[in-house]
Symmetry: none
Subunit: 417 residues, 2 copies
Amino acid sequence: MGGTHIKTASIVSIGNELLSGRTVDTNAAHAARQLRTVGVPVVSIYSVADEEPAIRRTLGLATAEADVVVTTGGLGPTDDDLTRQAIAGYLGVELVCREDLLGQLREFFANRGVDMPERNAIQACVPQGACAIKNPKGTAPGIRAEKDGKLLFALPGVPSEMRHMLENAVLPALRPMASGQTVVVRRLRCYGAGESTIAEMVGDAMRRGQNPLVNCTVHAGVITLEIVATADRNEEAEKMAAQQEQHLRASLGRLVYGTGDQTLAEIVGERLAREGKSVAVAESCTGGLLAKLITDIPGSSRYFACGWVTYSNDAKKRELEVPAEMIDEYGAVSEPVARAMAQGARRRAGTDYAISITGIAGPGGGNEQKPVGLAYIAVAGGESVNTSRFVFSSDRSSVRSRAAQMALNLLRLELGI
Amino acid sequence: MGGTHIKTASIVSIGNELLSGRTVDTNAAHAARQLRTVGVPVVSIYSVADEEPAIRRTLGLATAEADVVVTTGGLGPTDDDLTRQAIAGYLGVELVCREDLLGQLREFFANRGVDMPERNAIQACVPQGACAIKNPKGTAPGIRAEKDGKLLFALPGVPSEMRHMLENAVLPALRPMASGQTVVVRRLRCYGAGESTIAEMVGDAMRRGQNPLVNCTVHAGVITLEIVATADRNEEAEKMAAQQEQHLRASLGRLVYGTGDQTLAEIVGERLAREGKSVAVAESCTGGLLAKLITDIPGSSRYFACGWVTYSNDAKKRELEVPAEMIDEYGAVSEPVARAMAQGARRRAGTDYAISITGIAGPGGGNEQKPVGLAYIAVAGGESVNTSRFVFSSDRSSVRSRAAQMALNLLRLELGI
């Protein structure tokens, strides 16, 4: 492959456990992320069973559309590990057993104080003319082969082994051959508007086929915009990504709360820690989720003092001093009660801020005036308490997760981030 | 498809985020598991980019090898959602916009008090001759179409929407058409021992290639044993599965806490509700996660009264009446403090039971005497308080999740389940 330029990759994940759904294929996503960093984007991913004809056929499909194919799985010692045989069949060669690899295998077992089970001998076999790839973390060596100008790497399915060999054998081999284009990826994390509103706000930036490309994903109300800039030189790609980021930030204003993988809880926590401020929470329908999100962050004890999950009305009265008459008059899910909960939590905990949530997570408990998904969120800080009303859609779990994220977002805005 | 028998399925996962590795494809594994339960095993899984020609080509590959194709993703409202167009292209028909679907979309937004963004109108379009599949959890309807005797279902990529529509539209349609062997799947949920201990306890039951097959997965300390029985007739498969279940239950005793997808929180909640008992929780290192798990269950307000997230020592003293001298003498992470927290929570909330957790979630805060992962859990009930000491391994998130599950398990045992 001396002067060949590699532009694209395809991934073939091999194993019955993938097709039965017992195992979620995390290898493919990992390999795709890594391959992209050396300038070799993945154009297709296939999952196939541990069957020789199926693997051979899929290798044909994958090599037809990409310059390099990475397979994972099927290199174990048991009868249903057939990747080796399938690759030999695809290449049209025999499997040859290599004494040097057999020696390494025996040594691997000897180091663990056991004899090599006979069935492991198959792992010393590679297709004729192919190279073996060292596997310092397990018994199965990988395979590197070539056919019709296409490169083929076979790696084990055990994630730790696969990752190690990808990083130490596959990526170094591909880097100098990659077609030259560098890819720079930046992420903007946004909260406070839906996917389509954000798409409208950024105008043409999300149109397909552009460079930089802007992709959009949503999770629990958090929108992630991923900027992918491709250029011949790294500085150029960095510059394009930075310009696009600036454009998106200008269009979205305060909807953008962070970058990379930052969560709302992280952003809010950093600011509280930096300013030496503290927060307490009082939850009803979210049932502890808001406190959990805040304390997911290592070091959150610097700013998080106390949380109450006042699920019953008694608890709201007793622990947060919400007046009984208020609950009688307005109901537990109401603006005054949200306000009183936040005030009570702040007063009792003696914190700078307090957030409260009271709502109806469902599926039961709703009515026409107060539907499932209704939530009041209050943020107490300084001299004021701000309360907001929301109706979150979908099921119990989504309502809870949306309400908790929204509460963090309101605190973020209160903190001026 | 009147008399047609459906034997196999193929899954096509659509989205640039899958090929860039930003998103791990959990939809495919879920769909594969569900399709198997109606006797339609998955023979291939493809991931493709949001590109019309690629999607069309993959639909061709998938329909060539399977009787039914399920796609996920690409039904959103933005320009890079192209599944609808690709299916129309594959079928060789136009997209038609349906007034009834448009009305439903407008209603969906109106219920949330907002106008429908214009770009969402595309979601009311389906390929000519195809049916729409209701999506009660989101805006994107699914699509059901047919070509050359092959069935095609297109579902959204949002997991909650996809799962709902798969269960309520796809599986019921396939069940009567599925041919061949019936597969009965039963699950036993276990807690209290590791995977290898459980494997040893059940003897040969987990050997490969058997029928029924027994698969094992672990998540947050919960071990799920999946019994897969295959037979010509359903009654036969049911009988085989039942016998295997009986054998596993006899071997594992009280390690088995439930079946199917039951969580510890569900099992404990059912028992508390049935007996009219109540529970409160007091958490430190789990930071609200235990309360969150309990209140994940709809109707948990019948038995869950109140939770405290006493993260600071001040909060432990003030809210739960943990004596200051006790914290000074033993430290916040200690057996006496766990006990005092549970007693304080039970006394204040006036509940039948209270659970407390105090520990070191990490990554910081550990030392030689009290390492990261150390946790004390106390269960107060009747006349007694039982406390236990654990050292959970791995990262902050695992330590928290293991501690919370263990607390629920201790309450389960206390309740005699």
